[in-house]
């Protein structure tokens, strides 16, 4: 299966080609080349998936890890070296499919959405770069390769968020996204350093082999501040994941990242990059489970809190992309929770499977949501709900596909979200009831805010639009991806996921836990119903309720002031209390002491000028006195 490397290399070549000579091509040509290239990738990815799952992947009862391609890129020591290679196992193959599919859809969609933008070629080049990085990330054979591509996706994300580089808010958002994730990556890096120091390897296979035996044995009881070093290492690695996957409190960059073009949000900030953190934990799951179960618990709690937190914020947001962004945070938190509550092996590893399953389905319906939102924005040239309403009449395809996606995310049977979310809830139900109830509540909130979104956009009175800006259905380049993704959103839940993906790579059987399912269905339907009551028609009720909620509403609207907290940390603490004092110290103390030396020299030069008085008799006095002093010193000392 050596050709699988092509999946990674093709986008890179596309990036080089488009980046270097793209400017000389016509925009359409460049876009087409990018799209075709991505299409090739997608075809290859499907082939690989097919071949893996139905041909070569299963050895005996379990899914094997195939490394068709690997080479040493940079050798640190004899044991530690960065390899670049391709690792095929169920989750990476699954990710290949997800990424190429969504990416292809976004490529196609962008042909229409981005039409006429300056920098169209650059846009495609960057998309290719992102695809390359993301693909490289998921097929990483070792943790350092993952780190490399981890950084690369960060940069591509940065460039794409800041695509409209003349817009200050976009620039600020891109900067924020990069720096926050970079901060998280610092943890990741230190985690890798600690881990590799003890295990002497970066290789995933070696790390996870035999119930992560290498990790559990090599750490040998080192502790730091009361926690074992393994816990520290893995917690730090999770910090990296949390940054990319926008877990509280590192989530602040994601809503701002919506400044980027909408297709980019769909691809990077909904479907692929943001789940890298989940993927990372999943990749190292045995290590977490055996070496640092505490961290898993922490992940579960962080996830649960983030899910609730983001959902509460999503309720009050009026920018449709921000609603989606918080919804994304919330859904990714679901995946994290699933991993956190999971155990290892067989049915105990249900959470692991559920997490991957949700990742899979979420990718499609969330991409669909974003693309649909993009379609709307394309039509009304605004992100604000208040500028929308009644669009179902103008944009039927968008309306239907959006509704499908909303049903999916709300977890309505038989849409894909139902199945994956149900598995997560089931996994939580058995292990952490408190978390289960939280998630259950969040499911209701999810249904509510998604449908609030839906109704606000497509219903909500019969708003009229001026002739000039009359909304219209999007061109086919945008509609087709919507439809395709809608199909995925409907049916992807039917895949028997446990057959393919499990914590120990052994297929197992799952069934729908109807008790949990019914609970979640009830709450979801309730949510939808409430949303329908409030937002189907234009009314003042929401405002009244908001009025009643008072502080809570404002807090939610202001995203619980997390931006301000971080702003305070960076602006005040880092800038004012660290950097400025250092600057002052550097100029006045360090530099001042150097200049002070010069000053002292000059001063002493002036101070002794009196010696050179011009008076011969003084010279003589000095002469003889000097001689005498020397004589005295030498004679008597």
């Amino acid at each position: 299966m050596e050709y699988s490397i092509l999946i990674v290399i093709t986008p890179f070549l596309l990036f080089l080609f488009l980046g270097l000579v793209g400017g000389k091509l016509k925009p359409n040509v460049a876009g087409l080349i990018g799209t075709l290239g991505m299409g090739l990738c997608a075809v290859l990815a499907y082939t690989v998936a097919f071949q893996y799952f139905f041909n070569v992947g299963k050895i005996g009862e379990s899914w094997s890890q195939i490394v068709p391609f690997n080479f040493v890129w940079l050798k640190f020591t004899d044991l530690l070296h960065i390899d670049l290679g391709v690792l095929l196992d169920p989750i990476s193959v699954m990710m290949l499919v997800v990424i190429t599919t969504v990416s292809l859809m976004v490529h196609i969609y962008s042909l229409g959405y981005m039409k006429g933008e300056t920098g169209f070629q650059r846009y495609y080049a960057l998309l290719s770069l992102f695809s390359f990085s993301m693909l490289g990330l998921v097929v990483a054979t070792n943790i350092f390769q993952m780190y490399i591509f981890w950084e690369l996706v960060g940069v591509s994300s940065y460039s794409l968020i800041g695509f409209y580089y003349q817009k200050p808010s976009a620039v600020a958002a891109s900067k924020k996204a990069f720096i926050v994730t970079r901060f998280a990556d610092l943890g990741f890096l230190i985690g890798i350093l600690i881990l590799s120091f003890y295990t002497k390897t970066f290789d995933f296979a070696s790390l996870t082999a035999n119930d992560a035996e290498l990790v559990t044995t090599s750490f040998a009881g080192g502790t730091f501040m009361g926690l074992s070093l393994a816990t520290w290492a893995l917690a730090l690695i999770f910090m990296g994941g949390a940054g990319k996957s926008a877990m509280f409190p590192l989530h602040i960059w994601l809503p701002d990242a919506m400044e980027g073009p909408t297709p980019v949000s769909a691809l990077i900030h909904a479907a692929t990059m943001v789940v890298a953190g989940v993927f990372l934990v999943a990749r190292m799951f045995p290590v977490y489970f055996f070496a640092a179960p505490d961290v898993l618990t922490m992940i579960a709690y962080v996830g649960a809190f983030t899910a609730l937190f983001a959902a509460v914020i999503a309720i009050t947001q009026t920018d449709i992309k921000r609603v989606l962004a918080f919804s994304t945070i919330s859904q990714i938190a679901y995946m994290m929770v699933a991993l956190g509550v999971s155990e290892y092996g067989g049915h105990d590893g249900l959470g692991y499977m559920a997490s991957m399953f949700h990742l899979f389905t979420h990718a499609f319906f969330k991409a669909l949501l974003f693309l649909g939102a993009g379609s709307v924005i394309h039509a009304v040239h605004s992100n604000e709900m208040k500028d929308m309403g009644n669009l179902r009449k103008y944009m039927p395809i968008t309306n239907i596909t959006f509704a499908i996606a909303c049903l999916a995310i709300a977890g309505i049977i038989p849409f894909s979200g139902f199945f994956s979310k149900d598995e997560i809830l089931a996994a939580a139900y058995h292990n952490h009831p408190a978390i289960f109830w939280t998630l259950w509540f969040v499911a209701g909130l999810t249904a509510f805010y998604m449908w609030r979104l839906y109704y606000s956009i497509f219903w909500n009175g019969d708003k009229k639009y001026d002739g000039h800006h009359k909304p219209h259905e999007s061109p086919w380049t945008m509609a087709v991806p919507l439809v395709i993704l809608a199909v995925f959103s409907i049916f992807s839940g039917l895949i028997p996921f446990a057959n393919f993906i499990s914590s120990d790579n052994m297929p197992f059987y799952t069934h729908i836990d109807w008790k949990v399912a019914s609970l979640s269905l009830v709450v979801a339907v309730t949510g939808i119903f409430v949303a329908r009551m409030l937002y189907r028609k234009a009314s003042t009720k929401p405002a009244e309720i908001a009025q009643k909620m008072g502080g809570l509403y404002t807090a939610s609207l202001k995203k619980f002031y997390m931006d301000e907290v971080w702003g305070w940390v960076t602006k005040t603490v880092v800038f004012r209390y660290i950097c400025e004092p250092i600057k002052w110290f550097d100029r006045h103390i360090i530099d001042g002491s150097m200049n002070g030396l010069a000053w002292v020299t000059q001063k002493s030069s002036t101070a002794i000028r009196g010696l050179q008085s011009g008076q011969v008799q003084f010279y003589t006095w000095f002469f003889v006195a000097g001689t005498l002093v020397i004589a005295l010193l030498v004679l008597f000392l």
């Binding site: 000028r609 050179q612 008085s613 011009g614 008076q615 011969v616 008799q617 003589t620 006095w621 003889v624």
Partner: protein, 102 residues
Amino acid sequence: MIKLEFYLVISTLMFFIGIFGFITRKSMIAVLISLELVLNAVEINFAAFNRFLFPHQLEGMFFALFGIAITAAETAVALAIIINAYRKLGNININDASKMRG
């Protein structure tokens, strides 16, 4: 009995008296006169050492002899220069010869 240290004491005192004059006199010529005292003192030293401690050779005495000659030459040159300075500066006040300083 006249001892060596008598000579040495006299010459030392004269030496420093001369130095004192050198430092405190205001006229260049007076300074030069003080200098003569200094040199004279040193020559006494040589002669006395020679006679008392190493009378078999005449090194000290000849040193004193040459010293006298050199002193004479020195005085001559110095006076010439002082006269020259007098022409330029208008007097022989040593304090006036301090245009260059710092």
